[in-house]
């Protein structure tokens, strides 16, 4: 794609060439062009995308990256995580400057092999990133050689959405499981900043979930779902949604699918939005010497999903998705 652009540049010079010498010049220009293209491609640098899968949402992300990374200097190569090996980076002539992983298994695959170039993990939950990277606590260290764009939204953004969408819903309930418990301080901090009155229940297993939820539902206006594979996952979504609906307490989900399933609202990033953010990060990184990565980031672009049917049924009045997106965006 970028090579065609170069040829076009050559063709643009043709009208200025004298007729008698044209043949010689054309020949030498073609030669030069070819040489320069060859030379250019030699200077092109490769961003190797290692993707957990290359279909569905992953394909959307990859396409978005390809479209948005319009820098002729950067070549995008995609390899499926299962096919990835370190030799693809070190092989001569590849000039791989950055590895971008898409998805958790890709991150694991690359993490397993000691890559000599900077790595940007994407489409990975913060909890899992920290686990793979062996980072304790919730602070992801700043490392120009290894960074991440999480798939999850920052807690502050979620709480801000609750406050914007449902100003009267001050009492926000949160259930933390054995994994998400690490987020307790972050949750409390985000709650304080957002002006929400937080009610936190900690559970150790799925068994305790229902009783904790029932207890929580007595005293809160909305429950904020924070994913935890042990307790708060897609399998338990049904019970959570049913019980909270019966108690007339809405649930704030963490994905579009959760909202479709019955959560009242969620802030989430679409694959395209994530792709755009990744593309921008690649371009930014490419401008630095030695491809220095920015610190860990939460998704820059996001959407709001509202389940209007659930809102109506619960007698809750809520702005439309687009209005909320605007309000959430303008709030910083």
């Amino acid at each position: 794609m970028h090579q065609y652009q170069d040829k076009g540049t050559c063709r643009a010079h043709l009208p200025f060439i004298g007729k008698c010498t044209s043949l010689f010049f054309i020949i030498s220009l073609i030669f030069l062009c070819t040489f320069s293209v060859k030379g250019y491609s030699a200077r092109q640098e490769t961003v190797l995308i290692v993707s957990s899968k290359t279909t569905g949402a992953y394909a959307t992300v990859i396409n978005e990256i390809r479209q948005k990374v319009s820098n002729p200097r950067i070549r995008i190569r995609v390899v499926a995580a299962d096919d990835f090996s370190k030799s693809q980076i070190t092989a001569s002539g590849q000039r791989v400057k950055l590895v971008v992983t898409i998805g958790t298994s890709a991150a694991r695959q690359v993490q397993g092999q000691d890559t000599p170039v900077p790595v940007l993990n994407t489409l990975i939950p913060r909890e899992t990133y920290n686990l793979i990277r062996g980072i304790s606590g919730t602070q992801s260290a700043s490392d120009p050689k290894h960074s991440v764009i999480f798939i999850d939204q920052p807690l502050s953004r979620q709480i801000r959405l609750v406050r914007i969408a449902l100003p009267k819903f001050k009492r926000v309930g949160v259930i933390l499981g054995p994994h998400s418990r690490k987020l307790k301080k972050d949750v409390q901090h985000a709650g304080r900043l957002g002006g929400a009155n937080l009610f936190i229940e900690e559970v150790n297993s799925e068994k305790e979930l229902v009783s904790s939820l029932s207890k929580l539902l007595d005293s809160v206006d909305i429950v904020l779902a924070i994913p935890d594979k042990r307790v708060f996952n897609r399998r338990t979504a049904r019970n959570l949604l049913l019980i909270s609906y019966r108690q007339k307490v809405p649930l704030m989900g963490y994905s579009k699918a959760y909202v479709n399933a019955g959560a009242l609202l969620a802030v989430y990033s679409t694959p395209r939005e994530l792709g755009q953010h990744i593309a921008e990060t690649i371009l930014l990184t490419a401008t630095t010497r030695q491809w220095r990565l920015p610190p860990a980031q939460f998704p820059r672009y996001y959407s709001v999903a509202v389940n209007e049917r659930v809102a109506r049924s619960l007698g809750i009045y809520i702005d439309s998705e687009s209005v909320l997106e605007k309000k959430l965006g303008s709030g910083g």
Binding site: K229, Y254, G262
Partner: protein
């Protein structure tokens, strides 16, 4: 050779490997178990739709009728001992209590001690008695502690619920198994010898969740009356979730009640009655898509009352058999769908067999059966952002009275999203119970010699018919945390089935020349206004206010040969009011007060002029413990103020106190 050595070393190597493996496996195991780790799939993947369009409840403002909800908190705060106590919180509802602890719940009066014009469903299962009509509240196989919510549709709703959803419909929704995990023990002791205990356990195993409750309650009844009771019950509810689209809800229950009756006279001696009730219910729900689901439900209800005694009148020994057995088999199919963004449809078909055996009432040991078939459809059409139309009808055919069509049309106009006006017209029918249809009560000597016919129904009664026109308003005032529902209504009731005394009845061997005959002999018009206000002045305070003003005009036949009528106006209290205040104090103290007032009323049957009464109940509770083990201790005071009666002047309520201890563990 080398082998033994290798083996010997091998053991050591293996042992070291295990130790190392164990050490390493600790931190790595978290990583290794990939199912335990969140991935992007949790954010991008699908979640099966739980609250589908068909599952979501119609918001109150879109509904075609006025709806009152009594939730768990109100149930607890009310301090109710028996379920009917709760209906005093519903606008326009009255509770009538007669000797033998016979309780009736009615809307706008117009009832005797068997409220036949109100449909009652527990989790979609009708508990309306096919024999007597009305509901035997005391012997329902349900514990008040297992009720999650009660939804009352105030107004005729035969278009959705079929016949007998005449004045109103009560939907009792029990706790879902998922909401009852763990163990709960509730005990109550109090005045009138009241002792109640209920144990509930809930749990889950894989895709199956269950709860069961075992309960016992007893009391000595009202002082000076022989009407104590001992009741035990067992209920079970289980839900099996096959997959995201298929669930099976299984319920069964048994209730055994031993009650005292009789006034000690020779004709009505002191004695005991036994009521055995049980039910089985299976519901399969299949979700086709987000916009479509169907359910198939089967249930069976069974009630058996044993009450046989010898009454002596003068020198005659009479055998009185008041026993009866009634059984209902019901199969129902319901299909809900949302064919377009603006339209929701529900249609269904139902078939039912009611059979009743009552030797003493039917003068035969044979079953008297009624077969009912129903076909219904209802649509909710939001044809304009500000307008919603609910229209539907039920066609019903039954052995006793043939075919009826019950339609309903309602238009809801949303002035703003928070303020809705409703215009509705609805027609409903009440099919006579087996008693009203087939009674042939004959006074007999112990040896079976018939003496006199006491009551007779010729089986020609038409169903009672009601047509109600309603203008409603439903408003929300979020700044004041207030919700208001207002309703103006006018109903015409005709073909009321009455027991009229035929004063020229051809006697049998011996008699008084009289008999009660069940005929269509009454009509009435009831009109009025109702308001319900729910106000939450603070986060910790809830105030619930209801008021109903109703006027009844009409008459009912009491005698034929010669004809005599009574006006029906006295059977509806002009004013019915309630106020309930609930507040959470610091340190987990909860307090509530409820005040009820019903103006002068004389109900049908043995109803005496109440002269109007008002009463109040209060409750104070303290919650203890926060973890898995929690407790609550509550003191309830009932019937504060002057003594009163609400139906029969012998059935008088005085101050009562109850202490309740609840443990969750």
């Amino acid at each position: 050779m080398n082998r033994p050595l290798l083996l010997r070393n091998g053991k050591a190597v293996l042992a070291r490997y295990f130790v190392l493996g164990f050490l390493f496996s600790l931190p790595i195991s978290v990583l290794a178990d990939r199912n335990d780790v969140l991935t992007e799939d949790d954010y991008l993947g699908d979640v099966p739709v739980v609250l589908s369009a068909t599952r979501l409840k119609q918001p109150r403002s879109d509904a075609p009728a006025a709806i009152t909800v009594i939730d768990r908190k109100m149930i607890e705060a009310s301090g109710a001992i028996e379920i009917p106590d709760l209906f005093r919180l519903v606008p326009g509802f009255q509770v009538l209590r007669d000797e033998d602890q016979r309780i009736a719940v009615t809307y706008h009066g117009f009832s005797d001690n068997l409220a036949r014009r109100l449909q009652v469903l527990i989790d979609g299962r009708s508990v309306y008695s096919p024999f007597l009509g009305g509901v035997d509240w005391v012997n329902l196989p349900i514990a008040i502690e297992d009720i999650e919510r009660i939804e009352v549709i105030r107004g005729p709703s035969s278009a959705t619920y079929g016949s007998n959803a005449f004045l109103a419909v009560v939907n009792i929704i029990t706790r879902h198994p998922l909401e009852s995990k763990g163990n709960t023990l509730v005990t109550t002791t109090g005045d009138l010898g009241t002792r109640k205990v209920l144990y509930r356990q809930g749990g889950a195993a894989g895709k199956f969740a269950y709860r069961f409750s075992v309960g016992y309650r007893e009391d000595e009844g009202i002082l000076n009356l022989h009407d104590g009771k001992e009741i035990n019950l067992l209920t079970f509810r289980g839900e099996h979730q096959f997959d995201a689209k298929n669930t099976l809800d299984i319920q069964f229950g048994v209730n055994n009640g031993d009650q005292q009756t009789g006034d000690g006279s020779q004709s009505n001696p002191f004695r005991g009655t036994k009521t055995k009730t049980n039910f089985q219910q299976v519901l399969w729900r299949h979700i086709v898509s987000n916009d479509e689901e169907f359910t198939i439900q089967f249930y069976r209800n069974y009630t058996d009352l044993k009450d046989e005694y010898i009454a002596t009148i003068g020198f005659l020994n009479l055998l009185n058999i008041e026993s009866y057995t009634t059984e209902r088999f019901n199969l129902e199919f319901v299909h809900k769908l949302k064919p377009s963004r603006n339209l929701r449809l529900v249609w269904g078909a139902e078939t039912r067999l009611d059979r009743n055996r009552a030797e003493g009432w039917f003068n035969t040991k044979k079953y008297r059966s009624n077969n009912t078939k129903r076909l219904f459809a209802n649509a909710e059409w939001s044809f304009h952002p500000k307008w919603i139309m609910n229209a539907g009808a039920m066609v019903e055919d039954n052995t006793y009275t043939g075919t009826n069509l019950s339609p309903r049309v309602a238009l809801n106009f949303k002035v703003t999203p928070r303020h809705t006006f409703r215009f509705a017209v609805s027609r409903a029918y009440r099919i006579p119970g087996a008693f009203e249809e087939r009674v042939n009560a004959v006074l007999k000597l112990v040896d079976g010699t018939p003496l006199d016919i006491l009551a007779l129904a010729d089986g020609n009664a038409r169903p009672e018919e009601i047509t109600e026109t309603e203008i409603g308003y439903s408003g929300e005032f979020p700044k004041q945390n207030t919700r208001v529902d207002f309703k103006l209504f006018y109903s015409r009731i005709k073909d009321v089935i009455v027991p009229a005394t035929d004063n020229a009845f051809p006697d049998l061997l011996f008699g008084d020349g009289q008999a009660a005959v069940f005929i269509n002999g009454g009509s009435a018009r009831i009109g009025g206004a109702e308001i319900e206000i729910q106000w939450k002045p603070t986060r910790k305070t809830r105030i619930h206010v209801t008021a109903s003003y109703a006027r009844n005009r009409g008459d009912a036949l009491t005698d034929i040969n010669p004809v005599a009528v009574i006006p029906t106006d006295r059977s509806t209290p002009v004013l019915t009011q309630s106020v309930m205040i609930m507040h959470e104090f610091p340190r987990r103290w909860h307090a509530s007060v409820a005040w009820y007032k019903v103006s002068k009323v004389t109900y049908f049957g043995a109803g005496d002029d109440t002269g109007g009464y008002h009463t109040a109940d209060w409750r104070i509770a303290k919650k203890l413990g926060r973890g898995k083990t929690r407790a609550e201790i509550a003191l309830t005071g009932r019937n504060i103020g002057k003594e009163y009666f609400d139906y029969n002047k012998n059935y008088i309520f005085k101050k009562q106190f109850y202490l309740t201890l609840k443990l969750n563990f």
